[in-house]
């Protein structure tokens, strides 16, 4: 399977970007939202320490900022790098289509701006991470659809391009487009208050099967990414194929578990979730089968480390007794941050470093790399300590004392560090934008090909 899906093995370096400005723009937009979301995170940390400041914010109180913070991290920072990835995969960064990459990114950002105003104005669906309601619920999926149209148009235009000469490559991209077409509709439908995923009756949280399902979706993305980013090394086809076979087996296991309200105390739930631990060694093994730019090493290792930590702690936190202790505490908040700021951020930056090529310097400054990752480690540890205490004594969080305040102060400090690192990347991305050649206004694809 891996053999058939991969491009022809080659020792050549990854093919150069046709127009680096497209990916640079995607990086700039995503970093813009990261900085904004992190700034809101710092504001939230300040409000926890000084709740009286809420009065100065009028109706824009803590609860509304939390919603905004989470959604911007998810739909801004975590999503836009993938738009850059899709530009490259579907050739939107080449030819006439490249002129439309920046407008499409602005449409996405405008939809997020609408969302921000909507959340701060008190419009919420009540569903965490699917918080689209009213006008924003239509606007954001429509922005996604605009991206899809660009990808489809550029792919159609380059149908006969040598990059797409293989039937399987074409087929894979068509399937990808078909799946992407459903994402806006899925977001719109899933935001409905009438739909709710299976619930673990002992905690009120997700079931083991749900977690397995969502993690496998991430695994699928992890397995697909290298095909859009680089080429496979010679003689590694078996490695790749074996990994996909294991993935298929896990999918069958997930289907067998079904979707119902099941407790985490059921051995079938936590044992099936344990099957995910196989991806701790398997993911680095799989990624070693592909060629990567040397400057991706730092972030590649970081994302693989975070991924392993996420899988292991995710499983431990789900175990009976452990989940009962940590549910509804800061311990799980820390774990979410491990997922978002640790694993996902490192993965996205790794992807952007690979895509940006010469422009990857914006993410590779030593101090910001260590500052970000060390801050995430510190944050997760702080929240774990708080969650541990809270599991014994709910007063620890509800009526804060000195220990809790100290944790809040440290949390604020760590938040400021993360903001500083993201700000450094954002400023650097502006420089990169200036350095990048402007998007050609009238360079037809044919001319480009002959060149």
């Amino acid at each position: 399977m891996g053999e058939s899906m991969s491009p022809q093995p080659t020792d050549a370096v990854p093919r150069p970007l046709q127009n680096p400005a497209c990916v640079a723009n995607a990086a700039w937009h995503s970093l813009l939202w990261l900085v904004l979301a992190n700034s809101i995170g710092v504001l939230i940390a300040i409000l926890l320490l000084f709740p009286a400041l809420n009065r100065g914010l009028g109706e824009w109180t803590y609860g509304r900022w939390i919603i905004t913070h989470m959604n911007l991290e998810l739909y801004g920072w975590s999503s836009l790098p993938m738009a850059g990835f899709l530009f490259v995969v579907y050739g939107a960064d080449r030819g006439l289509a490249a002129r439309w990459c920046r407008p499409v990114l602005w449409v996405w950002s405008a939809a997020l701006g609408v969302g921000t105003l909507s959340w701060l104005s008190g419009n919420s669906s009540g569903k965490l991470f699917l918080d689209w309601t009213g006008y924003a619920r239509v606007c954001f999926p429509l922005a996604m659809l605009v991206l899809w149209v660009l990808l489809t148009a550029s792919f159609a235009k380059q149908w006969n391009d040598p990059v797409n000469n293989s039937l399987l490559v074409r087929g894979g991209k068509v399937i990808g487009l078909a799946l992407l077409m459903f994402v806006p509709a899925a977001i719109f439908i899933a935001s409905s208050p009438n739909l709710y995923p299976p619930v673990n009756p002992d905690t009120g949280g997700p079931t083991g099967a749900s977690q397995l399902e969502s993690t496998l979706a991430i695994v699928a993305i992890l397995l697909m990414l290298p095909f859009g980013l680089t080429t496979r090394k010679m003689g590694q086809a078996r490695k790749v194929t074996a990994t996909w076979v294991i993935f298929a087996a896990e999918c069958l296991l997930c289907i067998a578990l079904g979707r119902s309200d099941v407790s985490h105390h059921r051995p079938a739930q936590y044992l099936s979730l344990a099957s995910l631990l196989v991806w701790m060694p398997l993911t680095p093994y799989y990624y070693a089968a592909f060629q990567w730019r040397p400057d991706t090493r730092r972030w590649r290792y970081a994302f693989l480390c975070w991924w392993s930590a996420l899988l292991l702690t995710g499983w431990i936190f789900f175990l009976p007794g452990v989940l009962d202790h940590f549910k509804f505490t800061d311990g799980l908040v820390g774990h979410s941050l491990l997922a978002m700021a640790g694993f996902l951020s490192a993965l996205l930056i790794f992807v952007m470093v690979q895509l940006l090529g010469e422009g990857s310097w914006i993410f590779n400054r030593t101090w910001s790399f260590y500052l970000w990752n060390a801050s995430v480690v510190a944050y997760v540890m702080l929240m774990s300590i708080a969650g541990w205490r809270e599991g014994f004594d709910p007063t620890f969080s509800i009526a804060p004392g000195m220990a809790r305040s100290v944790i809040y102060v440290l949390r604020l400090l760590v938040g400021v560090f993360m903001l500083a690192a993201s700000l450094e990347w954002f400023i650097a991305s502006r420089e990169l934008l200036r350095e990048s050649s402007p998007v050609p206004e009238s360079l037809p694809l044919e001319l480009e090909k002959t060149a």
């Binding site: 803590y62 939809a111 429509l142 009438n194 709710y196 619930v199 002992d202 009120g204």
Partner: protein, 669 residues
């Protein structure tokens, strides 16, 4: 080299002094002084009109005056006139004299400001003239917010303003021209070696007496700074809109005690305001040099517009107090820098005429209109803010559209398309069909309560006793959507209706820390300005299931652990009492005072009793047990809440303290 720096400092001083005079005297002390002289109503309007007439007249006349060709001499006359006016206000003036002083102030300011910006290049130096303007403006505002000066009497402020004007004369007298300046002035060349276009008469005078007339040619051109060639009229309109907003906001804050308290009362506010002004002035310099005038005007509008909108609600005055100084300083730097350094002008005379129009129309008329709006309306209508936004932002939007046509069209198309689709796809129930509880539930969702409060009692866990009873999964799934939440920074609320009264909930929304000890929950008093607050209370009151009575039996069976009782600390109990209970159970408790009429029965003063829910007699241990149960779970059917989340030791300490208080009434607080 030294002279070059010094000449720059002259510009800084002159700009700073002019701003201090205008702000602390003309806008502030003079008004207070005439109010103290008993001048009000139509007389006040007449006095203010005299100042405006003087200002407009001399702003327009100054560039056209042939009598006083030397800028140094003119500016000294301007400062002298201003100083005279300031000193004269110290006298016991009548209405006519006040009008005369007011006219003098306006005339002096008109002469001073237009002369200053027309010839600023000769005082602001040729190294960083824009930076000097920014520093001067920032210092000017900072000095005005210096607490001892800001809070001084009008007489002291007037005297200080007068003295500063005298100092301004001194600054212009100390001017020495460098050799290079003399050379370029004598040759009539700019830095690039081009002849500056000056009126023939003026040029002749330059050649004759350059050091005296100070007509130093332009050391840089307008093109030094990034700018787009906006028509002068557009810039004028933008400045007018900004001054209008600024003056209106200033007047409204100054005359609304509630807003004044939240913005510039108290030394901390003043220091912060001063620093914000300084930082914003420097930011304005950065923006002007890097991004151009339009960015500064747009940013200033965003800040001032936000301040005006925030001022509509006194509870947001502190947020407005951040935006207001930022907006003011952003455009104030531009107000000096544009006519003096940035505006394209073919001659000094043209620059002067531009400055005259800007100060006459934007400065004086805009200011008068803003004050009038403040006087007549008492607020800045949002429609006006939108109108001002169109005036300021439209040119910028137009340029942006030309540069980013594709982005603009695609974004606009998507937004419009989404608007149409939303009308077609999403059909919500009419508001009249929604019950109060359903509306309250929506408020709960809108405010993000789910981020701090769960609504899920985990079976077979300590949750059951604290927040129970447990709901079935079918009940949970009936909710659209279930509001389970994922975090508890406050109590679980799935059964809150059985544990808290409507009065308690309302009092808590108004002031959580007062009602719930060290609660970090923000105040939601704003929800009660309309029906949202009552809707939310109704929703929370509705949150209780059929198992409530059964659960109350379990609560009555609860006792603190023996180990906790053994560790009970009476002094800790007293501390906890003051934190959680005194607000209702002491005679001067705030909640007790504020919500007195709302209680089902006024909570007993625990220093005195009577204790309706305590057995009249019995062993101390039994009494403590009973007190512990009440403290932990409250009294059903009354306004007495529980403190479920407190530890057994805390509950034991409180019950120990309370039992001693109840048996020893002499231990009154």
């Amino acid at each position: 080299m030294f002279d070059r720096y010094r000449s720059g400092w002259q510009g800084v001083c002159l700009v700073a002094i002019t701003y201090v005079y205008f702000l602390i005297f003309a806008q502030f002390a003079f008004l207070s002084r005439i109010a103290s002289l008993g001048i009000a109503g139509s007389h006040l309007k007449a006095v203010m009109a005299a100042m405006a007439i003087g200002g407009i007249l001399f702003s327009l006349l100054t560039p056209r005056l042939k009598l006083l060709p030397s800028p140094d001499f003119r500016i000294r006359i301007g400062f002298g006139t201003c100083a005279t006016a300031a000193f004269l206000t110290l006298l016991p003036l009548g209405i006519i004299a006040c009008m005369a002083v007011s006219l003098l102030t306006g005339a002096g300011l008109g002469l001073l400001t237009v002369t200053l910006v027309t010839h600023l290049r000769q005082w602001a130096g040729d190294r960083h003239p824009l930076l000097n303007v920014g520093v001067g403006t920032g210092i000017g505002y900072f000095v005005c917010n210096f607490p001892p000066l800001f809070t001084a009497s009008p007489e002291v402020q007037s005297f200080t303003a007068g003295l500063l004007c005298v100092a301004g004369i001194g600054v212009t007298l100390s001017r020495l021209t460098t050799r290079s300046e003399q050379r370029t002035a004598e040759e009539g060349l700019d830095q690039d070696g081009r002849a500056e276009k000056l009126p023939s008469g003026a040029k002749a005078q330059v050649n004759l007496k350059p050091s005296m007339y100070g007509l130093k040619p332009v050391p840089f051109t307008a093109a030094t700074y990034p700018q787009r060639t906006f028509p002068f009229i557009r810039v004028l309109v933008s400045f007018t809109a900004l001054v209008w907003l600024d003056s209106a906001a200033f007047f409204i804050i100054q005359n609304t005690p509630e807003l004044k308290a939240g913005t510039w009362e108290g030394p901390i506010h003043l220091w912060v305001n001063g620093l914000l002004h300084l930082v914003a002035a420097l930011a304005s310099v950065w923006f002007l040099s890097r991004r151009g005038l339009s960015t500064v005007l747009c940013a200033a509008f965003v800040a001032l517009g936000a301040a005006c909108l925030l001022l509509l609600d006194p509870s947001r005055a502190s947020a407005a107090s951040v935006f207001y100084p930022v907006g003011v300083s952003l455009y104030s730097v531009a107000l000096v820098a544009y006519p003096s350094l940035i505006a394209p002008a073919s001659s000094v005379a043209e620059r002067g005429r531009q400055a005259g129009w800007i100060y006459a129309i934007a400065g004086w008329c805009g200011s008068a209109m803003g004050i009038g709006m403040g006087q007549n309306l008492g607020y800045v209508p949002p429609v006006f803010v939108i109108g001002a936004g169109v005036a300021v932002l439209l040119p910028w939007v137009f340029v942006l559209f030309r540069q980013r046509r594709r982005e603009a069209l695609l974004v606009a198309g998507t937004l419009i398309g989404a608007f149409i689709l939303e009308r077609v796809l999403v059909v919500g129930p009419g508001s009249t069909q929604v019950s109060q509880i359903a509306r309250g539930r929506q408020v709960y969702i809108s405010e993000g309560c789910i981020n701090c409060h769960s609504q899920y009692v985990r079976p077979n866990s300590p949750d059951v006793l604290l927040w129970g009873p447990v709901k079935s999964m079918a009940e949970v799934r009936l909710e659209r959507p279930p509001l389970i939440g994922n975090r508890r920074q406050g109590p679980d609320l799935s059964e809150v209706g059985g544990r808290r009264s409507a009065l308690w909930l309302k009092a808590h929304f108004y002031d959580p820390p007062e009602v719930s000890g060290a609660s970090i929950m923000p105040s939601y008093a704003f929800l009660f300005r309309d029906r949202r607050g009552d809707d939310l209370v109704a929703y929370l009151e509705s949150l209780h299931g059929p198992g409530t009575e059964e659960h109350q039996v379990a609560e009555r069976l609860w006792h603190p652990a023996f180990s906790a009782m053994a560790k009970a600390d009476v002094s800790e109990g007293e501390h906890l009492f003051r934190l959680y209970c005194a607000t209702c159970h002491s005679a001067d408790g705030r909640t007790r005072q504020v919500w007195k009429p709302g209680f089902k029965r006024l909570p007993p003063d625990l220093a005195l009793g009577p204790f309706f829910y305590l057995p009249p007699s019995g062993p101390v241990a039994q009494r403590m047990d009973h007190l512990a149960e009440i403290t932990k779970f409250g009294i059903p059917g009354t306004d007495m809440p529980g403190h479920e989340y407190l530890s057994d030791k805390d509950i034991a300490s409180m019950s120990l303290w309370l039992s001693q208080l109840a048996t020893q009434p002499d231990r009154k607080q």
